[in-house]
Every structure is written in C-alpha cells, then in structure tokens.
Amino acid sequence: MKKKIFILLLLILMVSGCGKKKEELVLVTEAGFAPYEYYENGEIVGVDIDICKRIAKELGMELKIKDVAFDSIINEVKTKKSDIGAAGISHTDERAREVDFTNNYMESKQVLVVKKDSYLKSPSMLSDEKIAVQLGTVADTYLTEKVPTVKIVREKKFLAAIQDLIDDKVSGVVMDEVPAKELITSDMVILEEPLVIDYYGMVVRKGNKKLLSIANKVIDEMKENGSIDEALLEHMGVKENVSKKNSLIDKFYYSVIYDGRYKYIIEGIINTIIIAIGAVILGVLFGGIASIIRNINGNTGKLKILNLLAKWYVTVIRGTPVILQLMIIYYVIFKSAQVNIVLVGILSFGINSGAYVAEIIRAGIQSVDKGQIEAGYALGLPYRYVMSKIVIPEALKNILPALGNEFITLVKETSVGAYIGIIELTKASDIIASRTYDYFFPLILVALIYLLITLVLTKVFNTMEERLNHARD
C-alpha cells in the first residue's frame, strides 16, 4: 500500500511539477546534423531552428527545443510530447502514415561519398560494396529497398559513417549532400550523380491542422523570399577542421574550452550523478520492499499476491534490456504526459535497479548461517526480531559490497538515458564530437571521467566495508 502511494506521489510530482507552459512550441530534433541543427555556444541552432523560430513567432509562442535520438522523433510528435519535428526529415510514405508532413522546405540529394582514389565512380557501381549510412535515414531505407546486395553499415551518426570511410572500414558513405559537404575530409570526394533526390519536410501530429497550416505558410514565405537559402549559407562553413589541429592541446581546446563546451560535460556529469543517486535510492527502496515481501512470504506464507507480484517484477525487469524499459516508460507509460526526462530516468533506472537489489538482498539473507536463525527462534524471539537483530546485520556484510557494485553499474548504465534526450556524460561527448568532427578526445575524456567517478565510489564502499568488518574485530 505504502509503495502504491509513493509511486502515485512520484507521478503527480512528475506530471504537475514539470507541466508544459501554454505558450511553448516544442520542437524535437536531433542536434548532430549541421547545418540543419547543431550545438553552438551551448545552444541548438541551424536552418531548421531558424524556420521553427519563425513559426513560433507566427503563433505567438516561445520555441522550446528537445534533442533526442533521430529514431525517437516521430514517436515524440505522435505522443504529443513535442509539437513539431524537424531534423532534415525526408518525406516518405511510410513516415506520412504516422505523422503529417509540412510542405517541403529543402530539396536534398542523397550522394555517394568516397575516397579520392576510389574505383567507385558512380552510384550504379555500388552493388556488392560495403557502404556506411546513418541509421533510419533516407539513405538507409533507399539502399535496403533498392540495392539489397549492398552490405550496409548502419551508424548512429553521419560522423561515425565518415569515420568508417576514413578508417577504410567501408568503401563509401551514402548521405545528404549538404552535411556531406561539411563532413568530408581533403582526401574524399562527393560523386556528382545523386542516388536519389528527396525532400525535407517538418512533421506534426496527425490532425494538428492549425500548426500545419501556419508552418506551411511560413515555409512557403521563406522559400519565396530566399531566406531559407540565406539561412543555409549562414549555417554552412561552421565546421572547424580539427584534423588540421592535431596536437593534443588543440584537441583539448576545441573539445573542452572553445565555445564553452565544458558546459556540456559539466551538465553531463551532474545529470549522470543525479540519476545514479536517485536511481540507487529508488532501487534500494523497491528492492528492499520486494525482498521483504518475499522473505515474509517465505517464512510465514502470508502476502501471497504481493509475493507473486514481486517475483514477476524481478523476472520481467531482469529479463529485458534497460534501454527498452526506459523507452517503454517514457513513450508508452508516460505517453502524452509532459514529464521531466531526468525524473523519468531516475524512475526507470530505479525500477531496473530495484530488481537487481532485490536479488542482492535475497542472496545476502540466504547466506546467513541457518543455525543462528534457529538459535534465535529457540530462545523465543519472534520473526521480526530474528530478522532485524540477527539476520539483517549479518546479511549486510554480504549485501553492502554487492550494492556498491550495483551502484557503479548504474553510473555507467545512465548513458542509455540519451535515448530519451537526457544530456548525460556520454551524450555530452556526442554533442562535442558532432561539432568538432573528432571522436577521439571527447570519448577518451568522458571515459576518464566515468573511471574517476567509479574509482571514487569504489574507495568509498571499500572504506564502509572495512568499518563494518572492524566493528566485529
């Protein structure tokens, strides 16, 4: 009962405390696609953003931008979490079944990028090649359907696709012409003949007629008076060619200092730690409740239904990936509710961790010598004293190290949070890499930060363990 009330309170807190203000137009995008949307000075800017700002202005609203994974954008719009999606989204029939497209604002050519010395001279020569694309983009769908003999390497980012080409892991990259011009290095070339030409539109929820017509009006106007082309020119050439600045100090400068990029890392650290701490507290709570229920049932036969629920909770959570749990909680359970994503993260990781904590506690209790429990009963102690005075203090010795381990795992698992748009440490490195076009430094830096956090935690837990053992000597 207490658990139910607690969850209810948590939900009310999440929904009410973080409700969407009336005057906001929520734009959802994936900000790693210059010149359409990218991070600069800690803000998301780009052609799509310029257009949406105009739409918001026309509506008399404030524009709020959400940065999520590209494959989550349609879902965000469908579930009313966002009003409009813009991320260089190609108009396809498949997508048009899920959401409504605005008029096209940009003609996009899917082109083949190869090394200058490549024998590939035309898209018609692709048939048996290994080609990198960004997952879920038009290039991906086009190659899958039209050139099935191609071995497709699906990367989360264009940048990673280009990196594959640099490393000769693939013989070419198929992608949009505009970002391609931004991304290619001096030894690459874009083949002139496009594979396919498609058209970018923005997406709104089906039936949102008012937003659709205003967006169309703004887009048509901007196309007419040339301001979209202007915006495109303005946002082009923002690439900093880090590859020319190869010293570590330069890499450090461009990854951390320039443009205030350390802010992403700091935000990432804070979110990672907040989510991990919040989740471990919830995890111990949920896991504790589940194991208490199971223990009472095991010893007295009471609480049959709760015991069944606790058993299923552990089984289901341990049997499914945390990333799916996170997305189910965000896109299914909190469907059409405006919730703070960090709180969703805490709740999801807390529920996930609880299942493991329940097993940790169960194993800890089982490890307690049965003889001591019997001695307690033989002295006339009731179950509650046997548990609280004999079993739990003994079990704690085994539980604490495992719990520390679980916390450390949790710190690293929060990296999954980027899927629903949480800027945690891994996402921070992603944002920086999408600006510098260099994965090396941000990834190593963030890896070191994770390592530092876990080292500190290990030290803290070791000290606690030692104290616990000392108390007995």
Binding site: D369, G371, Q372, E374, A375, G376, Y377, A378, L379, G380, L381, P382, Y385, K389, I390, P393, E394, K397, R472, D473
Partner: protein, 241 residues
Amino acid sequence: MLEIKNLKKNFSDKKVLKGISLKVEKGEIIGIIGPSGCGKSTFLRCINLLEKPTSGHIIFEGDDLIDNDNLEVIRRKIGMVFQQFNLFENMTVLDNIILAPVLLKVMTKEEATVEAKRLLKEIDLLDKASFYPNELSGGQKQRVAIIRTLIMKPEIILFDEPTSALDPEMIGEVTQLMRKIANDGMTMLIVSHEMNFIKNFCNRVIFMAEGVIHADGSSSDIFDNPKDEHLINFLSKIKNV
C-alpha cells in the same frame, strides 16, 4: 511436564519419525541414543518446533504446541543447545546472552547485564564478555551458548549433540557445566554419541532406531541389561570400535 504423543515427521516422502510417544517428568535427565539417521536429532528439533511435525501432539505444561499462537512464549521455557553452538556472530559474548531477555522484556538491560556477568563469572569467562564468538575456543563457545539459554530460566533444556563438534580436550569443560546445571534440578533431554557420558550422567536412556523408540529405561537397563535386539546389535558395534 512434557508429553509427546504419536509424533510423526516426513521429509517429502521419507518417513523419519514413525510415531513417537514419550512422557518427561520434571528433573529427569534423559539421554537419547541410536544409530546415525535414526531420527533422534529430528525428534529433538520437533519438540520446540524448529521442525514442524507432520502429525502428533507436543504437550508442554498443559499446552499443545502444535498450531499454538503462543509458541514464541512457550519456547522461552524450552532451552536449546546446538551442536554448532550457533552464537550470533555479529555480537559480543555479553550481547549474545542478554539479547533475548532484553528484547522480550523479561529483564531490563541492567538486570540482564548483571545476571549475564554473574553467570559468566561462574564459568570463568567474565574476561571474555566483550569478545566476539570467533575469538573463542569451541568449548568456550558452547559454554556461552548454554548460559545464553540458562538466562531465560527455561524449565527444560534440549541438548542436540552438545559435544560432537568439540576437540576432545574441551569436552570435559562442557559436560562439567551440564552436570552442574543438572544438580540444580534442571530437566534435560540430551542427544549424544558420547556413550560413557550418557551412561554415567543420565538417569533415563532412550534408544531410537528407524524412527521409533525401541527401548526406554534406566541407564543400567539400557547399557548393562539390554533386551531389544536392535539395541544389543547397536551396543555391540560400539564396543567393537
């Protein structure tokens, strides 16, 4: 004071106790002997319901312990001493002894501490009061375990192979303490493989085999003048060893 009626215990489909009946009078020192696996330890553990009997009745001072809501209160009067001592590893010797009387509000913490120290002094272990069990020898642990039971002022104490886990040189200190308690008039049920100890110490001996009582009589009836075939067989095997 204690009457056991037709006690049966099955572990899944294995019949361990096949109907045991026994009357225990106040002040009796009863030894229970028999070959390994005859069910004597299970029988003892059924008396205070550490094992739940499959059927039968255990009547202690007029109350049937089976399905008794007051089981915990009755258990205070039935002490138990285990083969493996079963001291609470995370507590000092003193805390081991005073835990139950204080939690169950039989005594205040001060009273319990005074009483525990008095008992510790009697067995020459007062200097170990603040030690943890893992710092004691086996004999010391078992004597502390006996005191932990004694402080609850039980009417009867069940000893489940109290000396089997001890090194030979430590058996004496434990049996000596048991003799002392017996002299004070305690009722005792002792499961043991120490035949000489049972023979000299107990005023009544029960022989169990295959889940039933085969012989029940005075120490001399059992050891010097055995009549039951199983018992004769059992005693001859022991002599051969």
